[in-house]
Each structure stands twice: as C-alpha cells, then as structure tokens.
C-alpha cells in the first residue's frame, strides 16, 4: 500500500470515528429532501428530480466546506501534520489522499439520497438517464467545492475561518452567472470579461450536465477546476506546513 492509499483509508475512517459524519449526513439528507418537496415538487406535477438537483448547489456551498474545513486546519492545529509528513509520504500523496477520501464521503452522502429517485419512480415514469447525469453533475460539483474547501483549510489553522472563507468563495462561483450579478459587473467591466466570469460559474456547467448533456466542455471545466485548486493546495501546504 503506498502513501496515497494509507492516507485515503485513514481519512475516510476518521469521518466515521467522530460524530461529524453522522451529523453531516442527517442534516444533509434532511435539508436535501426538505428543499425538494417544499420548493414546488408537487406543484410541478412532474415525476422528475429537477427540484432536487436545482437546490443542491446552494446546499453544497455550505455543507461541503463544513466537511472540508477539518482536512488540514485540524491537522495543523493539533500538530499531527508533523507525524503525517515525516512518514515516507509526499505532500502530493497526502493532499490527494485526503481529497479523495472526502470526495468519497460526499459520494456516500449523495448515494444515501436514493429514496428520492425511488419515490419519483414510484410516483411516475421519470427519465432514468436524466437522474443519472444529475447525480454525475452533483458529484463533480461536490468535488469542485471540496477542492476549494480543502485549499482554504490549508490556508488557516482555524476551522471556522476556513469554513467561512470557502463558503464565500463557493457562493461566488454559484452566483457568477446570475443575471443580477452580470448586470452589476457589466456596469464597470468590459463585456468580454463579464462573459468570461459567467463561464467560470458552476451553475451553467452543472445545469447542462443535469439536463442530460455530458459534454467535454463541462467535464473539462470541472476536472480543471478541481486540479487547479488541489494543485494550489499542495503548494500552499508545502509552504505553510510548519508555521
């Protein structure tokens, strides 16, 4: 077993050895279900999961930083980072191990929403393909937010600061292509830049995957987004691990 697997295994187990995982799962599942049914699922009279997926970005923007905030802040505050990084493991392996462990945890949380598609299938005849692409899009979106959260967790030793900073940045990537944001930005930025900012937004890419179109453009966006933040995480951690 190499360093990556060792860190991955330990980190994933760590979620379940503290109450964190259970608190997170209960709140996430409740909120996801509540938002879906309270925001027009029955009014639409259509058996699909659009109301479920369309509320996820907002929920993730708060819940994912909460999962990510302990990744490195906790490690640096307690000093255990000194134990971790004096084992024969590179910083890259450690960062990737932790990132993928947290991502798997979020995948488990998404998997536990399985009663929602079952309910929808019971009520009508939904397009299964759309549900599957919706889940794929959600998983990538969770990965993107997680990469942001993991980066900010390495920036500070304080978990609360890490949570707030990453929630704000996640929020910015959601609202970047909203008409109000666009209108505001176009007041003082050139049109090309405003367009670029709207293309950076999660929402557009997530929506198009959720609509059932998995295009190279959207996948590349998420993969590059995640890789970029994880790479920044590796650099900042290598720089600040001891301070």
């Amino acid at each position: 077993m190499n360093g990556f697997m060792a860190v991955f295994k330990r980190e994933f187990k760590a979620y379940f050895s503290t109450p964190l995982a259970y608190v997170f799962l209960v709140i996430f599942l409740f909120a996801a279900g509540y938002m879906m049914f309270s925001r027009g699922f029955y009014l639409m009279r259509q058996a699909d999961m659009r109301t479920f997926f369309s509320n996820l970005p907002l929920l993730f923007a708060i819940m994912v930083p909460a999962t990510a905030m302990r990744l490195w802040a906790e490690e640096r505050r307690s000093g255990s980072i000194e134990l971790l990084l004096t084992l024969p493991i590179t910083v890259t392996q450690a960062v990737l191990g932790k990132f993928f462990a947290a991502w798997l945890f979020l995948a488990v949380a998404l998997l536990l929403t399985i009663p929602v598609p079952i309910t929808v299938c019971y009520l009508g005849d939904p397009d299964i393909g759309l549900i599957i692409t919706g889940y794929i899009g959600s998983l990538f979106m969770a990965g993107g937010f997680l990469a942001i959260g993991s980066f900010f967790s390495a920036v500070t030793k304080n978990q609360v600061i890490s949570l707030v900073l990453s929630a704000v940045v996640c929020g910015m990537f959601i609202i970047a292509d909203m008409p109000t944001t666009q209108a505001y930005l176009s007041a003082f930025l050139p049109a090309g830049l405003v367009k670029a900012i709207s293309q950076l937004s999660f929402q557009g890419h997530f929506d198009s995957i959720q609509r059932g179109v998995i295009s190279f453009k959207d996948l590349a966006y998420f993969v590059l987004f995640i890789a970029g933040w994880v790479w920044a995480n590796i650099i900042i951690l290598d720089e600040r691990k001891a301070s």
Binding site: G3, A6, K9, R10, S78, L83, L85, T86, L87
Partner: protein, 239 residues
C-alpha cells in the same frame, strides 16, 4: 550515518538555526542541549524532512534531505516534540496506519507490532483512543510509532518530557538498549539524562553550536557538574 552541513533556517527576521554542522556515527547517542528557543527542534525538523532549510544540507544514511526526502524518511524514526497523534484514533489503529504508510504488511506487520507494543509497554491501552491517554502514554505511543520499522537512525525531540520518574527510567533503558546498533539524536533539558544515555553532547544557543564534546570531558574541563557547565557555557560564552 547522519551528516549535517551548514544547515541554516530563518523564520522572518529570527534566525533559528545558524549554520550548524556535525556528523553522527552508528553507535553514538548525541544529546542536543540548549536553552529554550536555541534551535534544537528546528534543526531536528530539518533533518526529519519536515522543514526545508534556507541553505546548507544534511544526509541520513547517505540520502540527501533535499534530493531524496522519501528515502530519508524511510530510514528514520522521528518523534516530534509533544508527540502529536491523531486523537480520535485508537492506539492500534494509529500504529496500523503508520504500518500502512511505511508499507509494512502481513507477517512483518504482526512481528513489528509484537515487538514495539511490549517494548514501549502500551499493551494495556492498545484499544483505547489516543485522546483518553495520559501524557506519558501518548509519548510512549509516539515512540512506538517511531520505532515500528526498526529504523537505523532515531531522532527524538524531548522523549522523556512529561513522563514520571519510572517512565523516564524505562525510556532511558530502552534508548541504552538500542544505542549500540543505531544512530540516535535526542534533545533534552534534563542534564542528568545526558549523563545517563548520551555518548556525546552538542550545546546550541541562538542557533549556533557552542560546544561539541562528551559529557565526561566537559565535566573535567570545567571541573563542575553538567548543570553548572551548561549555565557557564550558555550564559557567558561569546558568539
């Protein structure tokens, strides 16, 4: 087995380690002494590849700390100051994680655990979580983690700090037992400890090496106990 050359590290304007050089051979137990903030821990962290030096280099078992840190970390057992651990893990879980990371598997892992657990007398807390342990036990768990791969080189940062006299005695006995076939660096404030286990001592203050000698020679030279020697050297000697 350890060779340190002109190692230097600053934190902002503070110079923590200011160009220290020394070699340690197999069978030697080197005691790093010095007042608080002298740069002992920083020097040890650099040799253990946790901190990068600003300039200078060091090698452990022939591997350079800058060029091949993974090989250095493989051949090294490092116990950090205050023995940091993952609090939510059980002692067994923690030791198994270290085995995972060091790629000790199967029968070898069982043999390693059977060796270090009684050696550090932590059998009775093996299934407890780390956060429930007393300071002494935590330190012994940290020591077990540093010894699990039977490294040739050991770096122990204040290994007996916070232990009761019996435990201190046990740890010293352990170090003495391993001394012949390993190369060990320990840092400490306890001068009687230096006399009990160290074959050589280096006194550091303000990041510089003031003295590199044996405890006996020092006592002879200054014609005083080690405590007094330490005070004389660190308070009066000009840098």
């Amino acid at each position: 087995m350890i060779s340190v050359k002109e190692l230097r590290r600053t934190f902002g304007r503070i110079v923590a380690v200011d160009g220290i050089s020394f070699d340690v051979a197999k069978g030697e137990v080197l005691g790093l002494l010095g007042p608080n903030g002298a740069g002992k821990s920083t020097a040890m962290k650099m040799i253990a590849c946790f901190l990068k030096p600003d300039s200078g280099t060091a090698s452990v078992c022939g591997y350079d700390i800058a060029k091949d840190p993974v090989s250095v970390k493989k051949s090294l057992g490092y116990l950090a100051e205050n023995a940091p651990c993952y609090n939510e893990m059980t002692v067994g879980g923690l030791l198994n994680f270290i085995c995972d990371a060091r790629q000790i598997r199967g029968a070898k892992r069982k043999a390693a655990l059977d060796r270090v657990v009684p050696m550090c007398s932590i059998e009775s807390v093996y299934h407890q979580t780390v956060e429930t342990l007393s300071k002494g036990y935590r330190r012994r768990v940290g020591l077990a983690g540093a010894l699990i791969h039977d490294p040739d080189v050991l770096i122990l940062d204040e290994p007996t700090d916070g232990l009761d006299p019996n435990q201190k005695h046990e740890v010293r006995k352990l170090i003495n037992k391993m001394a012949a076939e390993k190369c060990i660096i320990i840092s400490t404030h306890i001068l009687e400890e230096v006399e009990a286990i160290c074959s050589r001592t280096i006194i550091i203050a303000r990041g510089k090496i003031l003295v590199d000698s044996t405890p006996e020679k020092l006592k002879q030279k200054y014609n005083a106990g080690l405590n007094e020697v330490f005070r004389k050297i660190t308070t009066t000697k000009k840098l």
